[in-house]
Amino acid sequence: MALSQSFVGRCYPPKGTYEVSREKIAEFADAIGDTSPLSRDKAAAQAAGYPDVIAPPTFLTIINLDAINAIINDPELGLDYSRMVHGDQRFHYTRPVHAGDKLRITTYVDEIFDRMGNDFLNLRAEITDESDELVCTTRAQLVVRGADA
């Protein structure tokens, strides 16, 4: 049941561009109960020094999760989705995401290992803007419980 080690070091290039909209930022902020005007009111965001409304820190889960799913659904990897849990998550920002950003995500398989009968998969993603500047690096650890764990 071990995950295929051949995936370590693999890089998944961007499938397309994700354009961040004011509406999606507001919808996401609503869903997490974030009432900040910086995520809803362009004038307030600009007064705070941003080009447009800014996204809450976990907003990038939208494209991060999609990139993760593309990897874990690869049958060659041998991952049993029904036994998988999200172990941990990090977002490290160079700058906040704002409406109008055109983002691309490149995902890397950093590590695959097993510990006490469980498989661990460490993924990293680099999210860049239309100038190819790094906006955020995300790291996720996924855990696949062993058959008798």
């Binding site: 869903a31 910086l38 820190p57 976990t58 029904s82 999200h86 172990g87 977002f91 906040p96």
Partner: protein, 139 residues
């Protein structure tokens, strides 16, 4: 209420945050985040996965940890790093009350114009996030 970030020091406590999560909130979060894993909306599939019932998205609990910090800092753009380990599920019953998550935070380090905040998130009195931390610009 926004904090006076220039006065932040090690040991500074953040105003606590209590959030109530109902099934409706899970549906709303699923749509907003595009995370449609059925363990967050189907009792049948949650139970088949060995869970006690429908659980909240770990990323929703992490978002609440983010809110604790951004509401204190007054500007989500100040958060430059956010981390959480998902250690225990938040079970959300199919009723009008839902589940209550209690969040607290404390500054553990101040250096180079940045404060590190350790966040605790509890459900039914027990931690649901491990080593949850945020790094916030305070300059």
């Amino acid at each position: 209420m926004t904090a006076d970030l220039s006065a932040v020091e090690v040991g500074t406590q953040l105003p606590p945050l209590t959030a109530r999560i109902t099934r409706k909130d899970l549906i709303r979060y699923a749509g907003a985040s595009l995370d449609f894993n059925p363990i967050h909306w189907s009792d049948r599939q949650a139970t088949e996965s060995g869970l006690p019932g429908v659980i909240a998205h770990g990323m929703l609990t992490m978002a609440l940890a983010g809110r604790l910090v951004t509401e204190w800092a007054g500007d989500s753009g100040r958060v430059i790093d956010l981390f959480a380990r998902f250690t225990r599920p938040v079970v959300v019953p199919d009723d009008d009350t839902g589940a209550e998550v209690e969040l607290t935070g404390k500054v553990t380090e101040v250096a180079d114009g940045k404060a590190t905040v350790a966040v605790t998130a509890k459900f039914e009195g027990r931690p649901v996030l491990g080593k949850a931390t945020a790094v916030v610009r305070i300059d």
